[in-house]
């Protein structure tokens, strides 16, 4: 069974020089989508990523990270769109600081780019039909 989770990785300063993410791909066959990263050698690093792959490999990968000293947190909040309530009006587009919403020129539907979302929650309250939901 495949899983896909959004996680926050905290790297202690002593391992920021190691190719940790490379090993996730190489040794465990996982794929990742990097959402945010701030890693400099000798400082504590932070990465937000969506990590996907087979459940067993995913668990092994997480075990590897933990043993390597990486602290793992699941992304505590997530903004999702209730597609059944979205009317594609566009009231969210200009208020989103991360430019996560855009108007598809062809259909004039509002696209929500989940990967650009910084989970600030502005759209949740500003959405007229209340289609944006904050998940904890």
């Amino acid at each position: 069974m495949d899983v896909s989770r959004r996680i926050v990785l905290h790297f202690p300063p002593n391992i920021t020089g190691q190719p940790v993410v490379y090993r996730l791909v190489k040794d465990f066959g996982l794929t990742f989508n990097l959402l945010k990263a701030s890693v400099s050698p000798g400082e504590e690093g932070l990465m937000v990523m969506e990590l996907s792959g087979d459940q067993k490999n995913y668990d092994k990968g997480v075990k590897y990270l933990t043993e390597a000293g990486v602290r793992i947190q699941s992304l505590s909040q997530d903004v999702v769109r209730d597609e059944s309530r979205c009317t594609h009006c566009g009231a969210c587009i200009a208020i989103c600081p991360a430019e996560a919403f855009s108007l598809e020129p062809e259909t004039r539907k509002v696209l929500f780019d989940h990967n650009k979302c910084v989970v600030c929650g502005l759209c949740v309250k500003a959405c007229p039909p209340r289609a944006m939901i904050l998940h904890f």
Binding site: H88, C89, A126
Partner: protein, 402 residues
């Protein structure tokens, strides 16, 4: 080429009517010319899907045993107060009504997560709604308390009656102040942080019949996913508003009052809506067919976003203080590009009106007409036009005195 509505209806009945949307007609007229297109096309369908506060529903809930006179009493639907100052078991549910215990803007900006518009949406979706009522009791209506679930299926009438919908043009809202403001035009960021507009532009009904030559009292329309009718001109109808050379108003102008049986409407086309810091309302889907009776009518329906100008209004000062100053005008083509220039600044735009839903409405109405399920109507009487001299007046406050 002049056609009559009766002739067009004859073609619709035979399944031979040529129907296009107000978006499609623009390209066809470009290709074939206005006169060629007018020859060919019988009906142009329009659509709009926007928050429209002038909306509400009359409900007759039926008589309880023993009887209760809700008229003059207090009645709530899912805790939202309804108007009872009418007959014994008739009530009016307004789109902007809020539960008594909603904190409003006490915690600014208020969220307004539930209200009359949402109750209308739930009724249409066939959900049970909680009715609680207290009354004073009379000899013929002795009961004083009522608590029951009601369902749109079981009540006698549910009539959507919107006193003002389908505004012909509207302000583009911006914020010149240095703090965020929360308006019925959405959240407006400080220092021209964004600009919000709210019509379907080239697809919007009254932009396609700017002088109300075919849309009048009695016109059958798409309303909330079902059939409705133009009941009257809407409140604040302002036919004498400033117009461009193409006849299209350059500011808020005509409006429609519409009516229809809520029981045959569909969820998805009447959507409960919340405006942060402002209140609750209902987003309404409306589509109006325009019969192509002449080349002139076809010409009107070819209006495109580039030919529609809207005024830029500052909602931090000019709007609340009822000042008529505008910051300029922008076309719908510019608004839809995603960015406009205001006072030399590049400002991102957002809409409160769903263009994709407007396209869907115009397409559904087109399909109904093509299938012969929807016929055109001759207006019973026209809406007041430019010649009526009707203007939109501010309130003249006068002291009440002793």
């Amino acid at each position: 080429m002049a056609k009559t509505i009766a002739e067009i209806n004859e073609k619709i009945r035979k399944g031979k009517a040529v129907v296009v949307t107000a978006e499609e007609v623009i390209g066809i007229a470009k290709q074939k010319g206005v006169s060629g297109a007018a020859e060919e096309i019988d009906v142009v369908t329009t659509g709009t899907f926007s928050p429209m506060c002038g909306s509400g529903a009359f409900l007759n809930i039926g008589h309880s045993k023993p009887r209760i006179k809700l008229g003059g009493g207090k009645v709530y639907l899912n805790d939202v107060p309804v108007y009872t100052g009418i007959a014994a078991v008739d009530i009016f549910l307004g789109a902007t009504a809020l539960p008594d215990d909603d904190p409003r803007n006490k915690f600014y900006p208020g969220e307004f997560n539930y209200g009359g518009g949402y109750v209308i949406e739930e009724l249409v979706a066939g959900k049970d709604v909680r009715l609680t009522a207290t009354a004073f009791g009379t000899d013929c209506y002795p009961r004083k308390k009522l608590e029951t679930l009601i369902n749109i299926e079981d009540i006698n009438e549910a009539i959507l009656f919107n006193a003002r919908n389908a505004y012909q043009n509207y302000n583009v809202a911006v914020n010149l102040s240095d703090k965020v403001i929360y308006t019925y035009m959405g959240v407006l960021k400080p220092n021209l942080g964004n600009a919000h507009y709210s019509t379907a532009g080239q697809l919007s009904p009254l932009f396609n019949d700017p002088y109300y030559k075919t849309i009048g009292v009695g016109t059958q329309i798409f309303l909330g996913g079902g059939i409705g009718y133009v009941a009257w001109h809407g409140t604040q109808h302002n036919p004498t508003a400033l117009r461009g050379d193409n006849g299209v108003p350059r500011q808020g102008a005509g409006t429609l009052a519409v009516i229809g049986d809520l029981k045959q409407m569909k969820p998805g086309w009447l959507v409960g809506t919340s405006m942060l810091g402002y209140g609750c309302t209902l987003t309404v889907g409306i589509g109006v067919p325009i019969p192509i009776l002449s080349e002139e009518m076809l010409g009107y329906t070819t209006v495109s976003d580039a030919g529609i100008l809207a005024p830029l209004v500052d909602y931090s000062e000019a709007y609340p203080q009822l000042k008529s100053d505008i910051l300029g005008e922008v076309s719908y083509a510019e608004l839809r590009s995603g960015r406009i220039k205001v006072q030399g600044k590049d400002v991102p735009t957002g809409s409160l009106s769903s263009y994709s839903k407007a396209v869907e409405i115009a397409s559904i109405l087109k399909k109904w007409i093509e299938k012969g399920e929807f016929l055109l109507t001759e207006p019973v009487t026209p809406l007041p036009g430019v010649e009526s001299g009707i203007t939109f007046k501010p309130l003249k406050e006068r002291p009440i005195g002793e």
